[in-house]
Amino acid sequence: MEHAAEGLPTEHRSRARPRSELSVRAREALLAYALLLPSLVIFAVFAYYPLAQLVRYGLYRPSRFGNGEVCGGPANFTKVLGGEEFRSALWITVKYILYTVPPGLVLGIALALAANRKLRGIKVFQTIFSSTIASSAAVSAVVFFSLVNPKVGRFGDVSWLSLSKGSSALFGVSLSSTWQNLGLTFVIVLAALQSVPDEVLEAARLDGFGPMRRVFRVILPLISPALLFLVVVLMVGAFQTFAQIELLTSGGPAASTETLVFKIFQRRSPGRISEGAVMSLGLFGLTFVVTMLQIGILNRRVHYGD
């Protein structure tokens, strides 16, 4: 209370007389740190501390007698990362990327090329093509459950997407991801296409480029930064897929759809956390490579200033 009463005249005085350069800058820095504090606390507790914990859990494992922890050391890392479980998870994850990213990209480009026209009613088609944005991973998984589930699915007996066979189950699951991502892929490619200047296309037409050559020689190269960005987004999305796998196959049959994230999820309990932590660090390595690619792309396209 007293301070508040005192505060007023001080304010006036400081405004009347220019404050020293140092104190202004110190106050600005203090304000900045105060504004950053909430975000930094969240990042510290839920991003950086866990990273350190992953390393610790990876090095130690619970002792056989359940009292205290035994140091497994770096050998723990090589054992898990070189082990059959991790390698098969990695391979299944890579296959999932191959099943979802290229077909999704091609379909998304096709939709965007078709919808990038000045036609009556084109907005209706654009809305339809972007509609799968409204579908979450779980919703798209339920939609495809009713299509490909071996017992009740409308196409449950089609052999090349059957969820009851190890050789085709992953592909069956991947259809739901591909479909779910169509909307996102479409809107990103369409936005890129709309930024291509009409004069460029007109010039290509005057040079005698047919529609096919215009697409492959002019349009796609011009929007390649957006396509590259999309590839990264879809890849990250693919190796983070979880809901579709849990809902459609629960990792089966015979572990043929256990991706890396699925295996990590299964190893979150205290008894298996050591193995789960090493696998998480493996996933971190993957994320690192792909995100660096993404930041590299952003860096080239966005000005950071200074």
Binding site: A29, L35, Y49, P50, Q53, S135, S136, V152, F284, I295
Partner: protein, 282 residues
């Protein structure tokens, strides 16, 4: 518009016709799974299979949506989902606006380093930190609680980055003018920065809302009691536990997608702007 210009008459008409045919074909491809889902929902499962699983509804019965609502406990699940999504969105807007303001308008030691610290969290998505974070939440006794369900998402590098880029689009003289007018930092943010950056802030809000609504892995990892299930988690239970009554499962999926669909239709422009941020603008 373009269609009205009838210089090369029939050729234009023909190419338009080809466009419409291909657009319609592609629409059918995209909508096919949705259509079959609706057919599935409204057709009683036994009769549908008896009829040979046609592409049209059999003995359509809209009561299934009521059944799904009751059996799935969708009312409660929707409440939990909305609560979590609102908490995450409001908090993330507040933390992102604050941090983005500091990075865009203030000068302070270690500015670049701290910005790097923020951006580097993009390398640590919840999938990577899951097992360690689950342990933290367990130690905090935050399983089955709003804090537990939301805490890791209360701040995001994407939000800070997006808003910082947008804030930096304002002319620097604005801040000087505001200072001359005696506007403090808080008043400047409230009266100038936020109103002038409404598009970016709106896009961020919608994108955050969508991803909070659709979140699955984290919630699945830290909810034990069914009453803390969000819509996404309920979908799994309803579908997997009774595949013979798949109509109820898909009806629940349709109900849970409707609010998002409404949002998408009303705010199409803003959502698309948020989704394409970083891809196109440079």
């Amino acid at each position: 518009m373009a269609t009205e210009r009838n210089a090369p008459g029939t050729r234009k008409l023909l190419s338009d016709a080809v466009s419409y045919v291909s657009l319609t074909a592609l629409s059918l491809l995209v909508l096919f799974p949705i259509w079959l889902t609706i057919v599935r929902a409204v057709s009683p499962p036994f009769e549908y299979i008896e009829a040979g699983q046609p592409f049209l509804p059999v003995n359509a019965d809209l009561g299934v949506f009521g059944d799904a609502w009751r059996e799935g406990g969708l009312g409660r699940a929707m409440l939990v989902t909305v609560a979590i999504a609102v908490v995450i969105t409001v908090a993330q807007l507040a933390t992102s606006i604050a941090a983005a303001y500091a990075f865009a308008f203030l000068r302070f030691p270690f500015q670049r380093l701290l910005f790097g610290v923020v951006l580097a969290t993009m390398l640590l998505p919840i999938e990577v930190t899951l097992v360690a974070n689950v342990r933290t939440i367990r130690e905090f006794h935050w399983l089955d609680s709003v804090q537990g369900l939301t805490a890791p998402f209360l701040a995001s590098a994407f939000g800070i980055f997006l808003l910082r880029q947008s804030f930096r689009g304002l002319p620097p003289e604005l801040r000087d003018a505001a200072t001359l007018d005696g506007l403090g930092h808080f008043a400047f943010v409230r009266r100038v920065v936020v109103p002038l950056n409404r598009p970016a802030i709106g896009s961020l809000a919608l994108i955050t809302l969508l991803s909070a609504w659709n979140n699955y892995l984290w919630l699945q990892a830290i909810t034990i009691k069914p009453e803390w299930s969000t819509l996404q988690l309920v979908l799994r239970r309803v579908t997997i536990q009774q595949p013979d009554r798949i109509n109820v499962g898909v009806a629940a999926a349709i109900i849970s997608a409707l609010p998002v669909l409404a949002l998408l239709i009303v705010f199409q422009k803003q959502i698309i702007r948020g989704l394409t941020a970083g891809a196109v603008k440079g």
